[in-house]
């Protein structure tokens, strides 16, 4: 295991076990931090104080009885607002789900609740998780705790900001094309996109079903591993979950990187990359070589078209997934003169600008006469890209590269140019296209702004990511301590 003080979950748990704090006191710390900071940051869409307090008291009672409690019992956390929580609003950042209160929990939420986790609230996101800055939330943007004039990344920007500001030790996010990793990099925390199928998507508001994965955002690699272990596993309610149970990740923390083959993919250092980001990442890779990693350059030629492949396939899937918002069964309805008029008005008023743009593009690439040229071609290209990754993982154990081509950008900088915003995901989308897992760990700071190192492994090898991530955390870069929860 990594040094115990790096795991905020374990140190909170130690306080509970030693009776230095009650679960309710940990919750109050968290609520106080939210009250103090969230007026400006806007990481949360809903704070669920009553439900959280009820859970906290139940766990306190179990502690008083001397029950043996799971690792996450009593630890506060936050959940991205596109993940269904029974009895708590789930808006997906959209007006069309403004009053939606799900009658059931997502499987990942059931897993957290089974451990006694205290869900403090639901976090802000780009509408339907479509975006890279959290500026496309229908409820207003989230700000980056490291620099409030800058975006926290997206779409899991609320989850990243809540963790980076110390409001909660961990949060759940979703990652369709980088929505966990890019905000983790922008906010200077750890974020993991698991192997496709590792975590159930049941109860997660669907964006692009063959890409979407739930994963943790946390302040240490070990915390990310603890949360992943809690939420992972086969689920009969999601037919795409991997059938084998996830491995225990403990062993990954006992090994160093000596002898590990680390590939540096040249396509992940494109010509437009911020030189500060690329230099910082190269220094971190050199440090891994000093620790005994065998570093070599590798190539994944098809990565150059990954962003185009991605935007064809995800918009196609989104255009069909979002057909369910029709004002009939749930969500907003705008009255109209006919059924067709209800659809047009409901979807016209309920969807925001980038959602409309993506549904239009998805409709285009699937339409008669164009599906062959775009959708089916992109589906074939996806296979080529997945094969490129499979080939490279015969040569190396892990890839190391930047998570983003830039430092966190300013609010408003890219909202008027969709292609510029999409390009922010250029280094994260190949991972979702190939279905492999990736971990982002902070590896440097340029002034106050963090730089994230992205580690990518073969499908099913989250353990390798954690092993290298722990080495970066322990020996390469010490991330600045997040603003501590207010002293009690």
């Amino acid at each position: 295991m990594s040094a115990p003080e790096k795991s905020h979950i374990r140190s909170m748990r130690d306080r509970l076990v030693r009776r230095e704090a009650s679960v309710e006191e940990l919750l109050d710390d968290s609520l106080r931090a939210i009250r103090r900071l969230d007026g400006e940051l806007h990481a949360f869409l809903h704070v669920a104080e009553d439900a959280a307090r009820k859970t906290a008291r139940e766990v306190d009672e179990r502690i008083a009885k001397g029950d043996d409690l799971p690792t996450l019992a009593g630890i506060p956390c936050a959940v991205k607002d596109n993940i269904c929580t029974k009895g708590l609003p789930t808006t997906a950042g959209s007006r069309i789900l403004e009053d939606f209160v799900p009658p059931y929990d997502a499987t990942v939420v059931e897993h957290l609740e089974a451990q006694g986790a205290v869900i403090v609230g639901k976090t802000n996101l780009d509408e339907f998780a479509m975006g890279s800055s959290t500026e496309f939330s229908a409820y207003g943007p989230t700000r980056n705790p490291k620099d409030r004039e800058r975006v926290p990344g997206g779409s899991s920007g609320g989850s990243a900001a809540a963790v980076a500001a110390g409001m909660v030790p961990y949060a759940l996010g979703t990652d369709t094309g980088g929505s966990i990793r890019q905000p983790a990099a922008f906010c200077g925390i750890v974020g993991m996109k698991p192997t496709y199928g590792r975590v159930s998507r049941y109860g997660v508001v669907a964006y692009a079903s063959s890409f979407d994965q739930v994963g943790p955002l946390a302040r240490s690699v070990e915390d990310a591993a603890i949360v992943l272990e809690a939420i992972a596993g086969p689920d009969p309610k999601d037919g795409t979950t991997l059938t084998q149970a996830p491995p225990s990740f403990d062993a990954a923390f006992g090994e160093d990187v000596r002898g590990l083959r680390i590939g540096v993919p040249k396509e992940f250092f494109p010509s437009g990359i911020d030189p500060d980001v690329s230099a910082a990442v190269r220094r971190a890779i050199d440090a891994l070589a000093d620790l005994g990693g065998e570093v070599r350059e590798v190539s994944l030629p098809s990565v150059e078209v990954a962003l185009a492949v991605y935007y064809i396939l995800v918009t196609a899937e989104a255009s069909t997934n979002l057909a369910r918002y029709d004002g009939v069964r749930f969500g907003k309805r705008v009255p109209g003169s006919s059924m067709d008029d209800v659809y047009l008005r409901t979807r016209g008023a309920g969807f925001g600008p980038d959602v409309k743009r993506r549904v239009l593009l998805g409709t285009f690439v699937l339409s008669a006469g164009y599906a062959e040229k775009y959708y089916r071609k992109a589906a074939a290209a996806r296979r080529v890209l997945a094969d490129d990754f499979a080939k490279v993982f015969q040569e190396v154990d892990v890839l190391a590269c930047p998570a983003t081509p830039e430092l966190p950008f300013r609010l408003g900088e890219k909202t008027s140019d969709p292609l510029k915003m999409y390009a922010s995901d250029v280094l994260t989308v190949p991972v979702n296209v190939a279905g492999v897992p990736a971990l982002v760990v902070p590896c440097a700071a340029v002034g106050a702004l963090p730089v994230g190192l992205q580690l990518i492994a073969a499908a099913g090898r989250e353990d390798t990511l954690l092993r290298v991530g722990a080495a970066v955390e322990n020996s390469v870069f010490e991330a600045a301590a997040p603003p501590a929860l207010e002293a009690r």
Binding site: L242, D326, R347, K356, L419
Partner: protein, 101 residues
Amino acid sequence: MPPSQAFALDHQVLVKRLARLARIGLTKDEEARYTSEFQAIVEFVSQVERVQAEPSSLKATVTGVRHVVRGDTSEPSALADLLLDQAPDTRTGFLKVPAIL
């Protein structure tokens, strides 16, 4: 055929038609904005033509995971009423919508 030529079609007509297909009512401003953006976005995604691969059979999955299908059996669910409660308008256990015919 270069992408720009492939899209020598009228983008305003195209955006209108797509919005109609997707059942999204657009304001005049939105229509103008999407029309002005569409060519650049389509040209961007046309990079996919550079990949040497036959159009996919659509059966392929990247992770090799087989979709596991549940048995086609019905079972009682306590959710039915709760789900109905989510609907904007209902009458005697049915979803209520404007007349279709």
